[in-house]
Symmetry: C2
Subunit: 341 residues, 2 copies
DNA sequence: TTGAAAGCGCTAACAT
DNA sequence: ATGTTAGCGCTTTCAA
């Protein structure tokens, strides 16, 4: 079906246009340096031959690509999708293209992509991951590929990162619930060795401790999905109502939505019996029938910030290589103090 | 910060290992053809030099890449994300890598990516788009890059495609509502020139016509987002209750969820007053507090099917190049017949 | 402004 | 099993 691509290269174009191949290259890259007449001939030759520049040849000659890579655990998670958006927009503005890769939070796939992108000589990597990454990125850096860790602060100062202050996010969430008068708090999420989860729990714990009132129970999950939220709800529902928490900080919105659904389906009133707050403020949090309170990254566009940092790294103008932003609390019905009639 | 990559190539590795560069190449590509001893020396040289194969050189020599491209309007839409999943999985199994591109349903960005991927000499394109694409893809095909249109059937028989029968989906949805006894149906979505929307409406219309009972009102939107759903709900709420439809077919789940939220917030009972059904069966449809009925693609993994078709195209074994699958109805609470007490 | 020509790093065909 | 070598298509320096 498909016509085999007859190998037409710059030389063949040059032959047909009766110019030197170098002139065709000039026409492609700096058209202003080519006389109108030859440009015309070249244009025609390109059309008739169906010439398409071969990127590999170009890149080989240039020694570098014009692409950056974005590795995310799961692009179907709206949070990472939103970041991808920002990355693409900013990269495009800088004349770079973006390779997006889905790692499914698997070390193997991360490694495979890292290797591949290094071989592609991408200008840099933007990496969001739940796995330990700094060592691997350090190796790439030594060999010449810089990277920006996205979404969690790097531990070592050599690794640039753009992150939200997750501890503060956990604290904001728990403090909000305490201010509502709730005292039996629960944190739902895990596994806690994942920074994202561990830090958020840490913050929630801090808030409870600081308040000097209330308790914090921890219900761990192995994944952070809607289904995990439902499963924890089932545990909670198996208890007598008095032994349930009166407020829950979920590790993310997916877990919170699963929790919310299963609790409400069982007749638990939200927020009266149990207040629920999520994290990330994905679009579906606001769209729930009981809109979900959440913690969200600040207005800054994360993806864009990461690209900016990477560009700074590349041209040596990056000042602060570890950027951390404070998150914001978004209060909606799932934790709204009820009006007194 | 970043160590500049000293240009280490296969020849330098060869020199250090005291073998010929061809042997290093062999070691890289068919390790079995290299003696254990030299392999050992080569391995060591690679390590000490931090050698990373240059993909551009390889591809230039090979004349083809090992990648396919997936263009989607919006990867943050869970439907396209799910497709991406399948594409990646199947492509990986076939030893291909995948470039994912977000077009934001913009013709410009589509064009830019198409051009770029053609220059990259990808093996083929998997394209999901709301824009007219067949002409553009026909040009690429003539020049040697095959493609599979994803999600909507191609009009011309020359263009391979993997699609769901959207007309049937619309019909399934409307018929279901009619069987529930609803008579004042509304279709919400648009713009109708988009196949996805037009076909689904067509099917809904067919069902109403076939039933010989009931009416179908059309409420168009310019986009298909949660916000669009809320906006239509506002229109509906402005009417006296008796003039509202008693059942709604939404063009997708996002619109349905927006509709659902705004209606319920205003005290409309779902499904008693208005039954609502969406389309696509995204994860959040099932996770809603009133779980949303929907139409979903059949069990087949679309992404995988598209990759399979592309592979078939490439090796000439593709039999049927236009594959259309019948969708399935998923009934949940938003259209569930109420139990009679 | 244009032409000629030297490689960029790799693979594979061929020779040994 | 290993070495030698000719390009793949392009950009760019240098000369004219």
């Amino acid at each position: 079906m498909t016509a085999p691509r007859r190998k037409v290269g710059i030389r063949e174009v040059a032959a047909l246009a009766e110019v030197a191949s170098g002139t065709v290259s000039h026409y492609l890259n700096r058209p202003d340096r080519v006389s109108a007449e030859k440009a015309q001939r070249i244009r025609r030759a390109i059309d008739t031959l169906g010439f398409v520049p071969n990127h590999a040849g170009r890149q080989l000659r240039l020694g570098r690509s014009d692409a950056v890579a974005y590795l995310a655990p799961d692009v179907s998670n709206p949070f990472f999708a939103a970041v991808a958006e920002g990355v693409e927009r900013r990269a495009a503005a800088a004349g770079l293209s973006v390779f997006i890769a889905n790692t499914h939070a698997t070390r193997d796939r991360e490694d495979a992509y890292l290797r591949q992108f290094e071989q592609h000589r991408v200008r840099g990597l933007l990496v969001a991951s739940h796995e330990p990454m700094e060592e691997r990125l350090a190796h790439l850096r030594e060999r010449g590929t810089p990277s920006v860790l996205l979404g969690r602060a790097a531990a070592g100062s050599a690794q640039p990162s753009v992150a939200v202050d997750e501890v503060m996010g956990g604290r904001l969430a728990a403090r909000h619930l305490l201010e509502l008068g709730r005292r039996r708090l629960a944190f739902v999420g895990g596994p806690l060795r994942i920074r994202q989860a561990g830090d958020r729990l840490q913050g929630a714990g801090d808030a409870v401790r600081e308040s000097g009132a209330g308790s914090l129970e921890v219900l761990t999950t192995t994944v952070r999905t809607i289904a995990a939220g439902r499963a924890v709800a089932a545990e909670l529902l198996a208890r007598p109502a008095t032994r349930r928490p009166d407020a829950v900080v979920a590790v993310n919105d997916l877990v919170a939505l699963g929790l919310l659904q299963a609790l409400v389906a069982a007749g638990v009133r939200v927020p009266e019996d149990v207040a629920v707050i999520g994290y990330d403020d994905i679009e579906f949090a606001a769209a729930s029938l009981i809109p979900l309170s959440s913690i969200r990254a600040p207005q800054v566009d994360f993806g864009a910030a990461a690209v900016d940092l990477l560009l700074g790294l590349l041209d040596g103008t990056a000042d602060d290589t570890q950027r951390t932003y404070p998150p914001e609390l978004v209060v909606r019905a799932s934790t709204r103090p009820q009006e007194q009639p």
